[in-house]
Assembly symmetry: C2
């Protein structure tokens, strides 16, 4: 069995990342909700899943962080995908005909500069690929979608404009999830940790001390509100190294002293960030 889950419908950026990471032979299974993707891994319906966790323009994807904390899955890898938003419309449609552009609110925001110049109305959609499917279904040359090339191919739409996002460097980081850890990863590793700090003065500073004094580089620190109320947080921390290495092991022992909960989500091979 080589079923891999992703969030979205056919043509989504997540499906493109899945193909890039797992190749053509994997069977891609799309779910409308991220929670269902986590559930599919947990139930054994799929072998693994690929979920977006951070975009270089829009920032962290909160829902993924929250689901990581709610479910007991293991992070077994990471992958990066360069996001190149395209304006997709019916073949033969012209820019002058365009009246309305559909897409995910985040994609609309990332292309705001381009859309302002185009002077069209925008309308939010649950996902970019769904917007492309909608435009293909409506067969109206006044409608367009912002989505990836992969969606244009999936739904037979024409690419009217390419790479229309305001910031050229638009990269999404994905995590690969599995029910149980895989065998020791290769090369340089990264480790993801989830913790809640004890209520002591300078708590976060103390929590980071073990990493600083054992020479462990942090690559990401994200705080998420604890459901206990505003002003209470849990922390998602990514750092270099594998939990089996003595320096990281020591850093985690020191961290534990200052936390009320601590969970290692996984150690996995570092992926290369695309240029």
């Amino acid at each position: 069995m080589n079923k891999i889950a992703f969030q979205g419908q056919a043509g989504a950026y997540s499906e493109q990342a899945l193909r890039q990471h797992f190749g053509e032979k994997a069977e891609a299974v799309g779910f409308r909700r991220l929670a269902a993707v986590f559930g599919a891994v947990e139930s054994g319906h799929v072998a693994q899943a690929i979920v977006p966790v951070e975009n270089s323009s829009a920032g962290s994807i909160f829902e993924t962080y929250d689901l990581l904390s709610e479910h007991k899955l293991t992070i077994v890898g990471e992958a990066y995908l360069g996001i190149k938003h395209c304006l997709l419309a019916l073949a033969g449609a012209t820019r002058g005909q365009l009246k309305k552009v559909y897409s995910h609110p985040q994609a609309l925001q990332q292309c705001q500069g381009y859309l302002d110049k185009l002077g069209v109305e925008t309308e939010p959609f649950f996902d970019t690929a769904g917007a492309a499917a909608w435009v293909a279904e409506k067969q109206d040359p006044a409608l367009a979608a912002i989505a990836g090339k992969w969606a244009a191919k999936t739904y037979g739409l024409a690419v009217m404009a390419e790479n229309i996002q305001t910031y050229a460097h638009n990269t999404t980081r994905f995590l690969i999830l599995s029910k149980s850890p895989v065998k020791t990863p290769k090369g340089d590793c990264k480790t993801s940790i989830l913790f809640e700090a004890r209520h002591v003065p300078a708590a976060l500073y103390k929590c980071l001390g073990g990493f600083a004094t054992n020479g462990i580089n942090l690559t990401k620190l994200e705080s998420r509100p604890s459901q206990a109320g505003i002003g209470r947080y849990r922390f998602h921390l990514d750092c270099e190294g594998h939990v089996d290495e003595p320096a990281l092991d020591q850093a985690l022992r020191e961290l534990q002293f200052y936390t009320t909960s601590l969970r290692v989500l996984g150690s996995y091979s570092q992926a290369k960030i695309p240029e």
Copy 2:
């Protein structure tokens, strides 16, 4: 002149927060985009603005953080609003008639549990108040919106269900923005700082050292991707105290040594978090 800008249309939670903070006499001016709200303060079109910065369930509002870094406004206050999502429909409409619920994707997500039980289709909208206005305009008893009581009052809709969000404690923190600092705030203060760390080992740990050793409590630390690419961040830090106090002044001097840029966004009176 007492014009105050907010993002959204009449009936928005932001307008409700504005009324709560500034009272009935202020002239509320709504803008569709947050960027326009910042622009209105900058140009002097309005005296101040109130913008959402964090929600206890959904987390930080990235767009606000990014606009704070792009514009040179001063934070002169904060305010909290308890968010109580309601299901709004036409007067006389019954639950059995409902087919589709419109709202902002974040509100739909916060009420997911309730909506799943209701078994209706959901559709994203730019904002909660806009969804309420749409339902009022359509005059179709099969449609409903998730929005606040304030929106029900504004658009003459009936409240079918109240407080339908999954987590009872749903609070949004707002910032009050002005073009220039106001006179010394009263009572306990908070200070907001924006910085980029130097590229040195354990940079963030070193940046936080001045706060830890000078007894300054952090209330929030948010990292936002720098447009330079994935893995590069700027930090938004909130702490207790006023920049004029010696301990915070010393902490900032120590912080400055480890930063490539540092800006104090404002010192302002702490607001009380609602129960």
